[in-house]
């Protein structure tokens, strides 16, 4: 039996006006697999991730999440799928500044219609898993970069997504905090059986992946299995 891939990007093309960022990139990620997408600045790796997350709509090609073609879904269904099957961790956390950490982490559940109390309880549980339950009532400005990223990881995983997409997840913290954060990210995604796609220019981060895909000028330059 062949498992449905967690994520299937087929022939993705994308251009920012005249600047071509992706030139027909195909990537298939198995459930539970950890993939590092690497390459120099401007190679197209963040654009690839944003297309996979549904933040950008590719000019050509398809994005399938657990077999569902994003472009074939009605807007409402696409939003629901993005909210429940995809978790996103960006470089600077991108938490809502006025909300407490618990409310930030609970947000995907609340947007999906969950009631406030159970959503908040689940958020506090997740903050505990990533080691910052003591800060549940703090707002993002009161936290370090590493703590903010831990909250972003909790928010990405609270809906039990099939795939977590992380863009330079340790890029805003120093190297020791980055290693600690990486352990939390890998452990949390593995515990839930989610696939993880990390965009990074950091070799120490890429080393922890099962597979490395390196982009150059919007195309796959090489792909190697690391595990």
């Amino acid at each position: 039996m062949t498992l449905t891939p967690a994520l299937e990007l087929t022939g993705l093309e994308y251009a920012y006006r005249r600047n071509v960022a992706l030139r027909g990139v195909t990537v298939v990620v198995a459930p539970g697999e950890v993939v590092a997408v690497t390459g120099a600045s401007g190679c197209g790796k963040s654009t690839l991730l944003h297309c996979a997350a549904g933040i950008l709509e590719p000019d050509a090609g398809t994005v399938r999440v657990t077999g569902q073609d994003l472009s074939a879904l009605a807007e409402q269904d696409r939003s629901a799928l993005r909210r429940t099957r995809i978790g996103i961790v960006l470089q600077f956390g991108q938490l809502v500044p006025d909300l407490s950490l618990a409310d930030n982490v609970a947000l995907p559940l609340l947007l999906g219609g969950a009631r406030r109390d159970p959503a908040r309880a689940a958020a506090v549980q997740w903050l505990d898993r990533v080691g910052i339950a003591d800060h549940a009532d703090a707002v993002p400005a009161q936290l370090s970069g590493g703590q903010t990223q831990r909250a972003a990881i909790a928010r990405a995983l609270i809906t039990d997504p099939s795939v977590v997409l992380a863009d330079e997840p340790t890029g805003s913290v120093d190297s020791q905090a980055g290693q600690d954060l990486l352990k939390v990210l890998l452990q949390s995604t593995r515990d839930r059986g989610a696939a993880l796609v990390m965009v990074t220019h950091d070799n120490l981060l890429a080393a922890s992946a099962d597979r490395e895909i390196r982009l150059r000028d919007g195309k796959i330059q090489h792909e190697v299995t690391l595990r």
């Binding site: 120099a40 490395e212 595990r227």
Partner: protein
Amino acid sequence: MATAELVLGLLSRAPAHGYDVKRGHDAWFPDGRPLAFGQVYTTLARLERDGLVEVTEKTSGGGPDRTVYAITEKGRKHLDDWLADPVPPAWGTADEMIRKLVTALRTGGDATSFLARQRAGHLRRIRELQELPPASGDPTTNLVRSYLVTHLDADLRWLDLALDRLTDDKESS
């Protein structure tokens, strides 16, 4: 490889048997290759011949080796000189990675695939080092590990550069 000087360093703490020298070496470098017994004894014999160590106790018979070695004054001087002398920066062209790349490029071999496989090998080694149990309370071993990771990372940056250049050359030709 400076095995002789490492043996002198180990003996500078206290006289020891060959077995203790081997164990001491392996404890100093827990992530490295263990020192072979044969190498310990040939090194001790050479150091004794050169007057850098001396035998202070010897029991013969059917039991295990009971020869105890101690560092001499001459040996201590040699060790101090060795520690004071900075290591000459490596000649990069002696590195096997460079030799393989140059040979592949000069003979029309598949240099890009070689570099990609080399990159994977380096990434795997970094992961092995990252996954080792923490050497808590042993700052020396942690320093050695960070040296290894930093060097692998530097190699990887160069491998990226080389891969990008070869890819650009291939596309522009």
